[in-house]
């Protein structure tokens, strides 16, 4: 059999940053008494992401990211933890918009402020894997939305199906 040639698109999907976050996920410690527990599930492939969040003065003061699934879904969650920690909720919402746009539009140029998240850009060229990458972001979006609706005073658990 001929050896497979490395292809640029393939390298673009499994960038070193992605593999690093998959092998060594950040923000992996569970939080005690989290104000929001946002669970995300992709019934199609079984990927699971659980976000635990605490808030202070309108900003995300603590985040924990756990789950099981493919490298894209788990690395995406880990990168999410990195960027939203310390951000005001409005800012987090804006970031969700930027990231999901990047993940679904192969032509989109990722804004510089996304930093390492730019590594996920290649996903847009793999239609079968887009939902792996958006799972954590839609889970966060759902958690923030429901927290606002619930009045932010009491702990809530949200469940999102991708």
């Amino acid at each position: 059999m001929p050896q497979p040639q490395p292809e640029p698109e393939f390298d673009e999907l499994y960038r070193e940053i992605i593999l690093d976050h998959y092998r060594s996920p950040r923000h992996h410690q569970p939080l005690a008494n989290a104000q929001v527990v946002a669970e995300g599930y992709n019934p199609l492939c079984g990927d699971e992401v659980e976000l635990q969040l605490n808030f202070e003065n309108g900003a995300i003061s603590d985040v924990s990211v756990q789950g099981r699934g493919c490298s894209i879904s788990q690395a995406s969650g880990s990168l999410l933890g990195d960027i939203v920690l310390g951000k005001p909720t409005d800012e987090a919402r804006r970031l969700i918009g930027l990231v999901t746009n990047m993940l679904t539009d192969a032509e989109a140029e990722p804004p510089e402020e996304l930093g390492d998240l730019e590594a996920l850009q290649g996903v847009a060229k793999f239609p079968a894997r887009v939902k792996c990458a958006t799972l954590a972001w839609h889970t966060l979006e759902d958690g923030l939305k429901q927290r606002e609706a619930a009045g932010a005073d009491r702990p809530i658990v949200t469940r999102h199906d991708e």
């Binding site: 499994y14 060594s24 992996h28 492939c45 099981r68 079968a128 894997r129």
Partner: protein, 416 residues
């Protein structure tokens, strides 16, 4: 060992000449759907180029030819599965529709509160969800036969669950995930001893091993043409003649009627009573060519070829460090489906890497979520074989797996 002339068989399948990402296509996703030989493709084109017409009502030559070919395929199906006659064969869209037909046309009439439908934890959603819907509509209860550690039906569970309240046992002949071949004849005897009927989901067995409905003594058998070299959009329901006679229609409309009034109608004879509307004529005719192809190969030979491939695949896969292979180990109890998981590598990641090596496998829950839960996994990778696969193709699978291992396995993970 196989007595096939594999190269001659492969030459019949145009798609096997194509490349995927610059690599020769290695198609190991046969449990999902199989590729089609030139003979089947030609038969489909021939239908549209030479005798395309609606059936059973035209008085012109094309309609007569189309009707004859359509009904000829029904006879071929009956012969293929050892059915007593073509009147026992109903054409549907797929296995799922065949099972839904039984759930609606037989189940709603014959099941009630407290009756039991016996299934197993290894069922495909198509042999689970229709029964859940039927149970909700009728008050019947579902009971599930568990599996043992090798993925076989747990023997004592079979005997315990098929009790006097059982009205129907609906079980897969061969698991699409584990490859397990279930002892259907034995289950038929247990079911019939309790006065229950047996439906066999043959989606994975009829294409891959000799199946004779009279030897199995099943009451219903459902399967799909597209998993056995035929076109998509054609399913088969076999049922015992007297059952079909006693069942109400499933769908109403043209074809299935005899006399229609403004308020009520009478039904056509079986099997046409169950074929409302214009059926998938072209694909049914082409399915006939698929049956001819398999008959010529011989189903015993097909089975032997796949067992040999599965055995070699399992031997070579078991050499990969950190691999878990699911399903029975012995040849008699399994078919040409091998599901596995690699430590630290999700099946979807493996699927993407293998795709880049030209190797098509399935990764996911295989429409068997309760089985995934039972195995305590979110998904598995699955390689499944058919008549045109050859031993050398396993090299590409193993190389792809090794590439994935190099890519994903961390030297020493540090978690923060």
């Amino acid at each position: 060992m196989t007595t096939f002339d594999i190269d001659r068989i492969r030459a019949d399948f145009p798609i096997l000449k194509r490349e995927v990402h610059g690599q020769p296509l290695v198609y190991f996703d046969n449990a999902a759907t199989t590729q089609k030989p030139r003979q089947v493709i030609d038969a489909l084109v021939h239908y549209y180029e030479h005798y395309n017409a609606n059936i059973h009502r035209g008085i012109h030559a094309l309609a007569e030819e189309a009707t004859a070919r359509y009904e000829e395929t029904r006879q071929k199906v009956a012969d293929f599965i050892g059915a007593p006659g073509p009147e026992c064969i109903v054409f549907t869209r797929n296995t799922t529709e065949s099972i839904n037909l039984v759930a609606n046309a037989w189940g709603r009439k014959n099941l009630g509160e407290g009756d039991e439908i016996i299934l197993s934890t290894m069922e495909h959603h198509s042999n689970l969800v229709p029964w859940q819907m039927l149970a909700q509509a009728t008050g019947a209860k579902l009971r599930h036969i568990d599996i043992d550690d090798e993925g076989r039906l747990a023997g004592d569970s079979v005997e315990q669950l098929i009790g006097e309240r059982a009205k129907l046992v609906a079980i897969t002949h061969m698991s699409n995930v584990l490859g397990t071949v279930n002892p259907v004849r034995q289950i038929a005897d247990l079911a019939h001893a309790q006065g229950a009927l047996l439906l066999v989901d043959g989606a994975q067995s009829v294409p891959h091993l000799p199946v004779n409905v009279q030897e199995l003594d099943c009451d219903f058998l459902a399967f799909s043409a597209h998993k056995m070299l035929g076109p998509t959009g054609v399913g088969v329901l076999y049922a015992r003649h007297e059952l079909l006679e006693s069942m109400d229609p499933f769908l109403g409309g043209g074809e299935m009627i005899r006399r229609v009034g403004l308020e009520e109608s009478t039904w056509n004879d079986v099997p046409w009573k169950f074929e409302a509307g214009t059926p998938n004529i072209g694909d049914v005719c082409a399915f006939g060519a698929a049956l001819d192809y398999l008959q010529e190969l011989g189903m015993e030979q097909v089975r032997a070829h796949e067992v040999s491939l599965a055995q070699q695949a399992m031997r070579r896969l078991s050499e990969v460090p950190g691999i878990t292979i699911y399903g029975p180990k012995s040849d008699e109890a399994r078919g040409g489906v091998v599901s596995f998981n690699l430590e630290d590598i999700h099946p979807h990641d493996l699927g993407t890497v293998l795709d880049r090596h030209g190797v098509a496998i399935r990764a996911g829950h295989h429409c068997a979520q309760p089985l995934m839960a039972r195995l305590d996994v979110v998904a598995t990778a699955r390689a499944s074989f058919y008549v045109y696969n050859k031993e050398e193709e396993l090299d590409a699978l193993i190389e792809g797996i090794q590439a994935a291992v190099r890519l994903f396995r961390a030297p020493a993970p540090t978690r923060t």
